[in-house]
């Protein structure tokens, strides 16, 4: 069975630009969560969506937004990129309690 997939794998942007990251959950999973992982730290929660509704939001600025589509895939958008947004962005899907992570998108902001 296919796991969580994310695209793109790597991305390089400059300050002030906008970025869209994409995630496809495991088949049958209706919940998708987004996390940011800075080097040397554990993942930090950004958003959770369930059945296209936002279920939770972490302590991130309004530059970060997300949505979930009818097929349960999701997008994370970040506007006005800052150098500090450079990180590994992880998507996780869940059916019950356990969350299963994708490979991540490595975002570098120059």
């Amino acid at each position: 069975d296919a796991g969580v997939t994310q695209s793109p794998t790597h991305l390089i942007k400059t300050r002030g630009q906008h970025v869209t990251l994409r995630c496809s959950p495991i088949s049958g999973h209706k919940s998708v969560s987004w996390y940011q992982q800075v080097l040397g730290q554990g993942p930090q929660f950004i958003f959770q969506y369930y059945e296209k509704e936002e279920r939770g939001r972490g302590n991130f600025p309004d530059r970060f937004s997300a949505r979930q589509f009818p097929n349960y895939s999701s997008e994370l958008n970040v506007n006005a990129l800052l150098l500090g947004d450079s990180a590994l962005y992880l998507c996780a899907s869940s059916l019950a309690v356990e969350q299963f992570f994708g490979p991540g998108t490595r975002l570098t902001v120059l």
């Binding site: 969560s33 993942p43 939770g56 972490g58």
Partner: protein
């Protein structure tokens, strides 16, 4: 505020040398405690879920245990392929439907042949 602290930050073992990783947590009503393994540049790989104090789970050379304040990941006779960062996370009850995980910083394990 929910919090997870992992120790040590880094651990070097010889192949076959057993040890334990610690995860201390404070949470307003534990729904679940999770262990993940993460290889460099990759997403975390799910290992275990523990729900209540006294619970234990095993998988190959790994065994996870839970008390009311901490969890241990015991590694028995490790092999070089067990080298990775091990992450601990908690999920609290009563988050208004949110399934947010709060992670520790991880323990980087290196097993030398």
């Amino acid at each position: 505020e929910d919090q997870v602290t992992q120790s040590p930050e880094a651990l070097r073992l010889q192949e076959g040398e057993s040890s334990s990783l610690n995860c201390s947590y404070t949470v307003s009503g534990l729904r679940g405690l999770f262990w993940y393994r993460q290889d460099p540049g990759k997403g975390p790989e799910f290992l275990f879920t523990l729900y209540s104090a006294g619970e234990e789970k095993e998988k190959e050379r790994l065994k996870a245990t839970l008390t009311k304040k901490e969890s241990f990941l015991h590694i028995t006779a490790p092999k070089p392929e067990d080298s990775a960062t091990y992450l601990c996370a908690v999920q609290a009850r009563n988050q208004g439907g949110s399934e947010k995980l709060v992670f520790g910083k991880g323990t980087k394990l290196t097993v030398n042949p």
